[in-house]
Amino acid sequence: MDKLAQQLREDANSIEVDVSPQLDARIRASLAGVRQETGRTSSGSTGRAPFWWASSLTGIAATVAIISVINLGEPDPEPAITQPPPQQFTMPQFTFKPKAAILTESLQQELDAIQSDLKKAEQVIKDDFDKIGI
């Protein structure tokens, strides 16, 4: 044993403690009232594994039984039949006639023409909505 280890041991032994009679009596009294329990620490938990499995399997079996009872007790629901909505609630069909723009005049004039066409289109759409009452 080296010097440091020897010193550490000596110094540990020089710590003066004593289990007093009062403490001894306290411990004995406490021990008398203690009820021993089985298996708590992980080191001794192997004996608890079957209980774990048993409780898990019981839970699963109970769940399956409840689900089966609920589902077997009720007849299958009728398939839902949906009616098509009335014609008046469907959206109108628009027919678009796209045309390629052919730039034959200056850009400003073309822009004016396009804006004018847009306004006309908007008006046509408004008229169509008015006709169907939306």
């Binding site: 440091l4 280890a5 010193q7 550490l8 041991r9 110094d11 540990a12 032994n13 020089s14 710590i15 003066e16 403690v17 004593d18 289990v19 007093s20 403490l23 306290r26 411990i27 004995r28 406490s30 021990l31 008398a32 203690v34 009820r35 021993q36 329990e37 089985t38 298996g39 708590r40 620490t41 080191s43 001794g44």
Partner: protein
């Protein structure tokens, strides 16, 4: 305590015999209390921790696995109790008592040189301190210390080595201080 005798006492205590348990732990009580004095903030706390340790040991004795040494198992409970007591103390008073007036200092007779365990308390953290205590005060094997602390053997080896180096360095520092103070009168 002979192994056979210890085994018989454990068996009897597992059946609920308080007398057998008391005899079983008789040789460990003072050593446990000495250890707990170094780990708690007052002597009364150390006594409470000893009481809790023995009660818990008896309560859960049936879960004791014989692959552990009984003393290792007992120390593991004591370490947990001391740790929870320190947490309670910290929560109650904010910080632990002044180390100069702790129970360890009160239990050491005045001597010329400082007790190494006081130096160790200053320079080592709780877990490493405990490892050192189990190694050098309790003469436990590294494997048992690792089991008691819930650490790996390699962690224990490395930290014991580092702790020794730290303690050596601290002792060197205090020797230099002592020499310096002697030199300056």
């Amino acid at each position: 305590m002979a192994v056979n005798s210890e085994t018989a006492l454990i068996a009897a205590a597992k059946c609920g015999s308080v007398a057998a348990f008391t005899e079983l732990v008789a040789s460990h009580r003072v050593r446990l209390l000495r250890f707990l004095v170094t780990r708690t903030s007052s002597y009364a706390d150390a006594e409470d921790a000893l009481q809790d340790t023995l009660i818990n040991a008896f309560r859960y004795l049936r879960s004791y696995d014989a692959k552990w040494r009984f003393s290792t198992w007992l120390y593991r409970i004591a370490i947990n109790n001391a740790a929870s007591m320190r947490v309670q103390d910290t929560e109650q008073i904010g910080e632990l008592c002044d180390e100069e007036s702790g129970p360890l200092e009160q239990c050491i007779a005045v001597s010329e040189r400082e007790n190494l365990w006081i130096s160790a308390k200053r320079v080592l953290n709780d877990e490493v301190y405990t490892a050192m205590w189990l190694r050098y005060a309790e003469d436990m094997s590294v494997t048992d210390i690792a089991a008691a602390l819930g650490r790996s053997v390699s962690w224990t080896k490395v930290n014991l080595l580092r702790a020794r180096q730290q303690l050596d360095a601290a002792m060197g520092g205090s020797k230099k201080k002592a020499q310096a103070s002697e030199a300056y009168g």
